[in-house]
Amino acid sequence: MFRWNKTRWCWAGAMGLGLVPILAIFALAIFLFWNAAGASAQIGIRELAATEWSPQQGRYGVALLLAGTLAVSALALCLAVPVALCAAGYLALSAGGKVRAAANAAIGLLGGIPSVVIGLWAMTWVVPGFGNSWISASVVLALMIVPTITLLSGAALRLVPADLLEASRALGMSEGIVARVAFHHARWGILGAVVLGTSRALGEAVAVSMVAGNVASWPSLTRPIATLTTTLIVELDGAAGLHRNALYLLACIVLLAISALSIFGRAAQRKAGI
């Protein structure tokens, strides 16, 4: 017979608490979708696909904001991926234990810096050089995703069997070829790392909004740019009615994109066995 004893109570409680985050994410998603659905019904798909975002005039075209998000993230990846992969390759394949530990700690620390701090730093160091522009936004974003990509792809590279690398070296291959063997073996894990870095890039708002200029326009390296998240952050405070719901729609788009990327990134990592 089923009896509620102490252990069962504890398990039931733990399960209840475990459900809290799941319920929270559902509540969030339902709230966003509900508001966003209202907004898209009122605005209409054709108007949403337009390029002009000007809530004062009742224009809610998200095309340029989407283009801005993609442009800023893409350039940030171009800047971050080479740096992160070189760092990860060096740390995993050739650095000594002490160097690796110190570097990993430093990179982890960089990843933990609040984005508003990075934004403040960038306003005084990056913006005077590049202006409030696409390139400034991407530099800041690159700085924020390098740690994610370095640490995750480093983890993938360290899973490469040592005997595989030793065998390559025993065959007299140069260190360059050995690195290629390692990267090839770890490719799924590295792909996962890059994808997860991208999803962080898509969602970042505060630091980017401080340097991007936040003006919806066609991406041009030295001109201001607006992304989905920067628009959210600068306009939410003053938005009401349809404008507010349209901003929830932007949040919804970001949430969907990040969820899709996270699922894909985790799948790639699982394939790599991380």
Partner: protein, 275 residues
């Protein structure tokens, strides 16, 4: 392990206890003011004074003028705060109480040497017909135009005063700032930037050492005295609105803001009380 059920029970009961507590507080009169962040400092200062002298609990929240109006209509606040003129449709639905007005200053970096601008200069700058400070006797550097984001009262005040079209407001922008603090931050870090902001906000920021300064506008010194005697041309009214005749704590707050002590507090915040 013995503690765990206790903790679980507490975590279940605590939110419920807190929420009932909140309800009770509502009953003992809490005045909630939401809306324009420009009005927030006034409400905040008045709240401190009223808590001390009358034990009245006033809570202020930002969110913009339009939110102030919508919260008022739906009954989510006791009073709405607005920093822009109400539209005729809005006016028909609420009672409007002007409490103060606020000068709008033209802000540049302290290193910028220009003496001042006129309304026409502003039009040309914000339409990108003039793009270098050298046209105003400054350095040969391109002007960085800063706007407030859509939905903010100051943006509308600026647009109506200069006569720029909404399209021009979005097309010729270099930086869109979300809140007042961001306007200050951008200009403090960009020596060629120009923006508009509450006079009081700029005075406060300059006092705390931020490298920003106000420039003469249409030849008038941007000082509180000139806003008070209305020689300074660019200002906007600040309102509190109420759905019906304000009662209880709302009434107390409104009366206080119109009393001599209330006016002194408004002046202290670099706003101009209504005489």
């Amino acid at each position: 392990m013995k503690l765990l059920p206790l903790i679980l029970a507490a975590s279940l009961i605590a939110p419920a206890a807190l929420s009932t507590n909140g309800c009770q507080r509502q009953k003992t009169e809490q005045v909630v003011v939401t809306g324009a962040s420009t009005v927030y400092p006034i409400v905040q200062m008045a709240a401190e004074e009223l808590r001390r002298t009358k034990g009245l609990n006033v809570m202020g929240q930002g969110g913009g003028s339009t939110r102030g109006f919508e919260d008022c209509i739906t009954g989510r606040n006791s009073l709405g705060a607005m920093a822009r003129e109400l539209t005729p449709e809005e006016k028909a639905q609420v009672m409007v109480f002007p409490i103060a007005y606020d000068g709008v200053g033209i802000v540049v970096h302290t290193s910028n040497q220009i003496a001042g601008v006129t309304t026409d200069d502003l039009r040309r700058i914000y339409r990108k017909q003039v793009t270098s400070w050298s046209d105003f006797g400054g350095e040969n550097a391109s002007i960085v135009v800063v706007h407030k984001a859509e939905g903010h009262a100051l943006r509308e005040v600026f647009m109506n005063y200069t006569g720029l079209t909404p399209d021009e407001m979005t097309r010729f922008t270099d930086v869109t700032a979300g809140d007042n603090a961001q306007v200050i931050r951008v200009i403090a870090n960009t020596s060629n930037a120009i923006g508009y902001l509450s006079l009081g906000e700029v005075i406060k920021a300059a006092e705390t050492g931020q490298p920003v300064r106000l420039v003469k506008f249409n030849g008038i010194e941007p000082v509180m005295e000139n806003v008070t005697n209305k020689t300074y041309p660019l200002f906007h009214p600040l309102y509190l609105i109420s759905k019906g005749e304000p009662k209880g704590g709302s009434r107390v707050l409104l009366d206080f803001l119109r009393s001599p002590e209330g006016k002194a507090i408004i002046r202290q915040g670099n706003y101009v009380p209504l005489e």
